[in-house]
């Protein structure tokens, strides 16, 4: 088996007020995986991300990236290779033009200026926001800011990209744009972790789902395994995805054959129903 790209062992994190944030997290993340991280509010998803990125320092535990143990010295290596797109773009955007903003990461990597400009242009083209490269971020709309915050990370060429609740505060059109970007990134063999409360999205998109509850990982498996496990769903205050629910109801009423072929998207489901007619 291939060596996992990111290995986390026994990670403990305690907040400043003594509250436990992470309570022994073990996980292996393989290259190119599409992982959805779900769990109720305050379950430790964001804390986990910040720990993995080295922003928060864990009490104990080990993180190794491509087989190299992370310590204080090579922390920068970790941050360079793991990018986080924060939930609120306004908390991430720091510079006063879009161009300078996207360049912030590459500039911190101390790259030569030509390389920075090249990367910025690439990232802007990637997100299709070349038009407002000279605009200040405070005159952008919410969806545009989100695009800028994603371009920030693309410009850093991180191998693992973490999205912290990206679909929150996006209108359907922008959410669609986000999914397109995600599939584009997957084609480039990027490893993607997304925290979300949208179970329908997680079911449709993810290859693997990790469930957090009170600072622990309580389940880790394929979407189907997770969403059919009622105990896990109950413990983490989650609901079954609509599509799975509908499919199971139809099977129960013997309206469609129980072939155990679970449709992941509406399109597949519609085809399935047409066959029945």
């Amino acid at each position: 088996m291939k060596e996992p790209i990111l290995k986390v062992r026994d990670l403990y994190y305690v907040y400043g007020n003594g509250q436990i944030g992470l309570d022994g997290v073990d996980i292996d993340i393989n290259e190119g995986e599409k992982i959805a991280v779900i769990g109720s509010n305050g379950a430790g998803k964001s804390t986990f991300f910040l720990n993995v990125n080295g922003v928060l320092k864990a009490e104990s535990g080990e993180i190794s990236y491509r087989g190299t143990m992370i310590n204080k010295k090579n922390l920068k290596e970790l941050r360079k290779n793991i990018g986080i797109v924060f939930q609120d773009a306004d908390n991430q955007i720091i510079a006063s033009t879009v161009r300078a903003e996207v360049a912030f990461g590459p500039m911190n990597l101390k790259l030569p200026k030509e390389e920075v400009i090249k990367r910025v242009d690439e990232a802007l083209t990637y997100m299709d926001i070349m038009d407002f490269k000279d605009r200040p971020p405070h005159y952008l709309s919410g969806g545009e800011k989100k695009k800028v915050s994603i371009a920030d990370i693309i410009a850093m060429k991180s191998e693992i990209i973490i999205f912290d609740e990206p679909t929150v505060a996006l209108d359907p059109l922008n959410a669609e744009m986000l999914e397109e970007v995600l599939s584009k990134l997957s084609r480039e063999e990027k490893t993607i972790l997304i925290s979300t409360h949208d179970v329908d999205f997680a079911y449709r998109w993810a290859e693997r789902i990790i469930v957090f509850c009170q600072g622990k990982i309580i389940a880790d498996g394929s979407p189907l395994e997770i969403f059919q496990n009622e105990e896990v769903l109950k413990r983490s205050n989650l609901k079954q995805p609509m599509l799975l629910n509908v499919y199971e109801s139809l099977v129960e009423k013997h309206l469609i054959a129980d072939e155990k072929i679970y449709p992941r998207s509406i399109e597949v489901f519609q085809k399935m129903i047409q066959v029945i007619k």
């Binding site: 910040l50 910025v120 605009r135 971020p137 405070h138």
Partner: protein, 297 residues
């Protein structure tokens, strides 16, 4: 000699105004001027003009140094003809070259008018118990008096101040803050101040946003129904703003660290080419100012 120069300058002023009006008329006729953002307050409007200006592409160092040189010349030469010439040239740059509408330019230029009038009136007018001076006005038991000399001094001072202000407005109305900050960095202003300026500039808009959201939500719950409640709500919002800004500062720091921030903020600055003929024009203009000064001394 002086009369001729003043006449020429007056003619130029009218010409610039006409050009600005005609330019504006044409731009409205052709395509709609696309504006970005929405209004918050006067300061933010100036910020928006800077981004919309047509001379934004000029080299910021050139614009800032030109404004500074003109500002110093206005004060140092202390000559009404120089002041008028600067006023006209700056109006030309901002309105005709920059594409700012006449109304907007005048409204921005009028911001300091109260201060200027109050300040200069004190120079022109004096009080006395006796009817003295060239002109005097009896006000009960005292007199307000002034003289032609004093009035002239006042008008020249107003011209001088307006010329200096218009030079600075030319800079602020055509150069976004981030570029002005980068010019200051090149001028070796301490790094700490530069970083603070960058962050403060970005923060102003975030805090304004937070403030307007909190104000709206308080307003929708009758938080401003009478004076006492308004004061109470204002206090609450101010307190909350402090907490939120602390929280935001934390979130920001995390986000910056996640992108390899290690204690030094460096931003990509665009290199804008400086054009030789712009410099030549500026040098010629400064020479003309000196000539005007020499002729009317």
């Amino acid at each position: 000699m002086r009369e001729i120069i003043l006449f020429v300058l007056g003619f130029l002023a009218v010409a610039v105004l006409l050009m600005a009006v005609v330019g504006q008329y044409h731009s409205q006729d052709g395509k709609h001027h696309h504006k970005i953002g929405h209004k918050h307050g006067e300061g933010v409007v100036i910020d928006m003009h800077a981004y919309a200006s047509k001379i934004r592409g000029w080299n910021p160092t050139f614009k800032v140094s030109l404004a500074m040189v003109l500002l110093i010349l206005c004060i140092a030469l202390n000559n009404p003809c120089v002041s008028v010439a600067v006023l006209i040239a700056m109006a030309y740059l901002t309105m005709v070259k920059g594409g700012l509408s006449v109304n907007e330019y005048l409204s921005v230029l009028m911001i300091p008018i109260t201060f200027i009038l109050l300040g200069t009136l004190a120079i022109a007018i004096e009080f006395s118990f006796d009817p003295i001076g060239q002109f005097n006005l009896h006000c009960g038991f005292f007199y307000i008096y002034t003289s032609q000399e004093k009035l002239k001094e006042m008008i020249f001072l107003i011209l001088k101040v307006f010329a200096a202000v218009s030079a600075l407005q030319m800079m602020t109305l055509s150069t976004p803050s981030s570029e002005i900050i980068s010019v200051m960095r090149k001028a070796h202003v301490p790094k700490l101040i530069i970083e603070l300026m960058n962050i403060i500039y970005r923060y102003i808009f975030i805090l304004l946003d937070v403030y307007s959201k909190m104000k709206n939500s308080a307003d929708s719950r009758q938080g401003y129904c009478d004076f006492k409640t308004s004061c109470y709500t204002f206090g609450g919002i101010a307190g909350n703003m402090l907490i939120i800004s602390l929280k935001k500062a934390n979130a920001y720091y995390d986000a910056m660290e996640a992108r390899c921030y290690d204690g030094e903020m460096i931003f990509l600055e665009e290199e804008k080419k400086i054009e030789i003929n712009q410099i030549i024009m500026a040098v010629i203009f400064v020479a003309v100012l000196f000539l005007l000064w020499g002729l009317t001394k």
